[in-house]
Structures are given as C-alpha cells and as structure tokens.
Subunit: 396 residues, 2 copies
C-alpha cells in the first residue's frame, strides 16, 4: 500500500538512544522457575510475542527486555530485567506499562524496585515542593509535621469550616478534607472549599501561624482540573487526590501545572489491591513512595503500622525510604502515615519515621480533649517534646 503525502515524519529522540532502565521483580518459585519467568517478562512487557516469533535484528536486540540478574532462594527469587528507554518515550503511563503492564495480571510477580537513570528521570519534573518546600510554607524547618482530616462525611460546609478553624487555631500544620468529601449535597465542593479556606485564613491571622487547608479534588480529570483551579482561587493551601481513582498521571499533570502551583497530597483510597497480596502487585515502598514521588506528589498518605490497617513497621519504613532517599533530581517527599496515630502512638511513630514526617491524626485527635483547639495544641506540645528528647532514627 502507498502512504499518503500528508503523513507526518517522526521526530527522533536521540537522548534516549542506548539508555536502559531496570525493574526488580520478586518471583514465586525456585531459581529455575525464576529464569523461565524472567525470560517471559522480557517478551511479555515489550513485543508480546512468543520467543520464536520475535523478528531478528533491532527488535530482538533492542526492544526485547534483558535479564540482568537472577538471585534465587528456595521459594522466592528476585530477577532484574532491563528495558530500552525508547520503549517508554517520556510518558509516565507508558513507563508503568512497560514495567508491569500485562505481567501485573500474572500471579506470583511483585515489583520490588524501578531503577530509572537520569536520562529518563529528566522527563519528570517531580514534586514541586517536596519536604523542604512544604517546611518553608509551614514555617517549620525541622520538627515532625501534623495533619488532620475534616470529617465525618455528612457535616455541612459550615460545620466543616468550624472544625477547620479550630484545628488551625490549635496549630495543626495541614488540615485536609477527608477523602470521602467530594461534591455531595450536604457539603458541596465550592461552598465547602470557600468556607474552609476562609476559616483557616482567619485562624492563621489570629495565631500568626501558617496552617494550610488542603481540599479533596478527586474527580474525573477535567472536573479535577476545574476544582483545583477553584480551590486555588479561594485560597486553598494544597490539594488532595486519590491516584487510584484519578489515575496516577493526574497527579503529574496537576503537579506540572504552573497555573495551579500548589502542594499535592495523595491518598491511598481504592489502591489497596496494589499491596494487599505479598506475592503480587508492588512493594509498599514502590507504590506509595516511588510512584507517588515520580508523579509529583509532595506528600504520600498511607496507613501506618499498628493501626486498623495491616501494614508492618518495616513496610511503612520502606515507604519512607522511597519517599526520601536520593533519586536523581526528584525532591524528597513527606511520608504521611495515618490510621490510628494518636497520643499513645505518636512517639513511636516519630521513632520509626524520623523527623521528616507528617503525622496524620484523625479520630485520635478528637479523643484528646473535648476542646478541639486544646487537643491540637496538646498534640503539638507532644511533638515538640518528642523532638527535644533526643535524636530520631531515620528510615534510611
């Protein structure tokens, strides 16, 4: 067949030529099984053809994945497969697709790490604020930070704003919407965000503080973008979204948007399947730490150990490690553990995560005192005490 004259000619991307990135997979099975599965990953994640049908030459040599290492145990092995950067281009969706697209559906495979060279990382702007930027905004250069949530669902916008005001009076750094607040009739988005932003502004004026109100903008992308713009216009201090509901790339799109330019917190709602099975999905650190940071979140919310979710201390520290360790130019981001953190567990949480953490205290805060602002102030005092008491371990 003849090609029409109007068809565009490709632009080349020479910067990616020869560049590779690698993915570490946990594989159920002995080293022989691991070798077979590694070979399968090389094909499934790229050409998606049986080995004997792969064209020789540049496709077989350049496109098919390469086994870089296999370290076997009796029942579980680790394999490292590298892929050509050209298979990804510069898109986050396609990076995830090559790393774990079809193979995510096969049982007994779990992603333990994604190692990206600078040539690929450069395609991602990354977090706009990160830990340092958020600390600047909050005027809190070194101590653990505190976050709480406006809830329950069902309160009116006026009631939520009253709560926000009291939380800010008590010195909570970040006051976020509960992730269940969307655009329901009892507290419609526009009214809620306008009232809560105003409430926190008033409280900051009284205290001289710099608390941030962070509304939930989770929605279909066009609506999410519109809500982000409205939130910014009425003075929100950041935005909350749940990437498992919006798509991870909605985080990146919002983080890169200079017209928004607000800190982003990501919430784990609906994303549980990624980590609930120890043999499938992804390592907690990769999903909650690395991917959220790569997408441009400034803080990543996850269920802390010992609460009503089943994450272990090690899994949580793993998230903090991926959130904070050196990864190219990507700013370190805040681990934001929540779910059961309160007065009784605060010191232990700081011991586990170190000072570069934002502790999300929900119901536990309301138990501290019938006077919410007094409860917040007590929590702030506990944080200050815990820091004075001595050096914290870091998750690194």
């Amino acid at each position: 067949m003849a090609a029409g004259a109007a068809i565009p000619v490709p632009s080349t991307q020479p910067a990616l030529s020869g560049v590779r990135f690698s993915v570490t997979y946990q594989v159920e099975g002995d080293p022989f099984t691991a070798e077979r599965r590694a070979a399968d990953l090389c094909l499934e994640q790229t050409v998606e053809l049986p080995e004997d049908m792969v064209p020789t030459g540049s496709i077989r040599d350049g496109i098919v994945g390469r086994i870089e290492a296999i370290e076997g145990g009796a029942l579980t092995s680790q394999v490292i497969v590298s892929y050509a950067a050209e298979t990804v281009g510069t898109e986050l969706t396609q990076l995830l697709n090559v790393a774990f697209g079809n193979s995510s559906i096969k049982p007994g495979l779990r992603v333990l790490n994604i190692d990206l060279p600078d040539a690929i990382l450069r395609s991602f702007r990354g977090p706009r604020f990160g830990i340092a930027g958020l600390r600047d905004l909050l005027g809190a250069p070194a101590r653990p930070l505190l976050c709480t949530a406006l809830k329950p669902m069902g309160l009116s916008a006026v009631d939520l704003a009253t709560l926000a005001y009291r939380f800010a009076l008590g010195g909570m750094d970040v006051i976020k919407d509960d992730h269940g607040l969307a655009d329901q009739p009892f507290a419609p988005f526009e009214e809620r965000v306008a009232r809560c932003a105003e409430a926190v502004r008033l409280a900051n004026r009284e205290t001289g503080g710099a608390s941030l109100y962070v509304p939930n903008v989770t929605a279909a992308f066009p609506l999410l973008r519109e809500r982000a713009g409205r939130a910014r216009a009425v003075g929100a201090g950041g935005l909350l979204l749940a990437p498992a509901l919006t798509g991870l790339d909605a985080v990146r799109t919002l983080a890169d948007d200079d017209a928004i330019g607000l800190p982003l917190l990501v919430h784990p709602a609906f994303g549980g399947a990624w980590t609930t099975s120890p043999t499938c999905g992804m390592d907690h650190g990769v999903y909650y730490g690395l991917l959220m940071r790569l997408a441009g979140a400034d803080g990543t919310i996850f269920p802390s150990f010992g609460g009503r979710f089943a994450f272990t201390r090690d899994e949580c520290r793993g998230i903090a490690r991926f959130a904070t360790r050196a990864i190219g130019h990507l700013r370190a981001i805040l681990p934001v553990p929540g779910g059961g953190i309160g007065a009784a567990t605060l010191a232990d949480a700081i011991a586990a995560y170190g000072r570069d953490v934002m502790l999300l205290v929900g119901g536990g805060l309301l138990r501290l005192s019938p006077d919410i602002a007094a409860g917040c102030a007590r929590l702030r005092a506990m944080v200050d005490d815990s820091v004075r008491e001595g050096p914290c371990t870091s998750p690194g």
Copy 2:
C-alpha cells in the same frame, strides 16, 4: 467564625434522597468475624470514625452504611452493605471510593458485586455503542467477532500499517494497536495512526468490508483527549485505552464526549492487582465487566482461560455475564478475551462465551499461515463454521 457573603449556597439533589446502593463483599473469616467486619465497612467507607464518635441524628442514621445481609460459611462469608446515594452524588470516582476506597487496603475483603438502582445509574450515560452498535458498524449482526493486535513494539509505522492492511484484507473485524504502542520514536503516534487508518480504509475499499482500526490513546488525560481527537480526524474506527493507567474515569469522560463519539475498547494492562489475589481486590466480573461497562467501554479485553494468564473458565464467563446481563439502561458490551486464542482454542472459546464475543487473536494468527491475509481468512472461516455447527451456550 463568620462566613463571607460571597460563599455559594448548595444546590440540593432531591432525586437521590432516600436512594441506596449496595455492595457485596467476600469476607475471610467465620460469620462472627464477618459481622464485625461488616460493621467496620459501614463506618470505614463513610464517616471514617470509630463507632462511639459518630454524631447521632442524620449522620448516624443516614450516612453510615447499613448491613443488609450476612451469609456465613466456615472460612468465608458474604456480606451486603448498603450506602446512601447522597454519599456518592453523581461521580464515578466517588462511587468507587464509597464502595471500596479505604477498605481496599484491608486484607481479606473482596468486592463480589455492586448493585446500583436506576436513580444512580441515570448519572452514567454508559457505553455509546455496546454490542449492537459495534455489530452495526462492523456489518456483522450475529457471528462471533474477531480482533487482532498490531505488534511487535519496535516496528515502524510503515510496517505496522502494512500489517494492518493485511489483517483488514483477511477480514479481521477490529485491528487494534498493541497496548505497548504509545508515542515511541520507532512509530510515533501521529504517523502510526494516520498510516494505519489509511491502510485499513484502503483494504475496506478493496474487500467491501468494514474493519475498524483502533489505536491506543493511553496517556495522561489532556494528551489522551488530544490523541483521541487526532485519531478521529484521520479516520480511526475506535479507541483503545488502559484504565488502570489512565484512571477509570478517563473512559467515562471519553465515552461521554460527543466530539469523539467512537467505540472504546479497554485493555487490562497494569490492572492485574485487582484480581490476582482470591481474597482481596475484586471479582473478575466486577472489575473487567461491570466497572468497564459502567464507565462506558464498548468492549472489555481480558486474558482468556487456558492461555498464558491464569484466569479460569468460570472467572472468564463471569466477566462475560457482567458485560452482557441486564443492568438498567447500560448497553451490553463485548467480552474480548485474548491471550492464547488461536485455531486450536477458537471453538472452545465460542462454546464458553457464546456468539456475543470478540475473540482477540494475536500471535496465534501469525502462526496460521505465512500469508497474513490468508491466515485471517482461515480464522474467519473457522468462526463461520463454528456458528453453523449448532447453538452456542451463553454465559448467562
């Protein structure tokens, strides 16, 4: 604190008042455990507060979920919890959030069904074409349909277009991009889509057929929307996207977009975690069938039984059931099983799925004959034979 005068007043949504929807969860544990976990779901998915902290009145009575049924086995139970429609409003993201947001992170919970009354379903336009609409476009009122994929990644746009031409000459109904084709330097999006659409158009002119070329538009939403528009402009016959990468609501947004108006196929890449664990995530039918249909996909691709993925025949038939059974005004959509379907398994696949299916034949097609168009024609003949041989079972 005082509220400013400029704050908008809520619009009420009386149509949802008193309406409830229900979610069936599989719960690991005996009936006593099931009862405790059901009570926990009622709180976790709505107010996210411990029971003793829930405000009495409209929140406790109207917002907190309600246990509707518990059917216990010794090790696994099923619980049905209903939620007020007001907690969701009209947004798909928030529907999924209330159905399984935080609880997705808790082990031992799996969604088996989401039962939506018409008052909620009316918020969703649903599939634009569905099975009947796609059959009209393809001029194939009754037989099983055939789909194939342009691959491998690494071929040039010219080579892919040559393949597309031959597939269409051979009578394949839908010729889709492999889900790994994005915007890579070896076959950039614009050039690839223009060439492949033209190739299929030329073949249709020669054969009098109505094959559709369906390019992959998976990307960050703004780019996805742009690609969808370009694909439409150059004559693509449908669009492919992977909701686990784009967010499920990208499907709905695209399906609802009258300026696009093309059939949508959804691909399972990166979504495996939803179904790989038998105790977590979602039932195969709910994820691949119900959710994709609710979002507006016209066909849902999934790994068929017996191939290189591990889905069982029952799980696959469950997907077909959710894709096709009566659900309010939502058009029935095509199950599109793939992964290992070829000459040897075609008749069995039709026996399992019935005639309302689109069989995705990839590598298996290339094995049929060195002449691709002849291989396609042979496959079409086999489909016609299988239908003549007698009535097919339906998955219902």
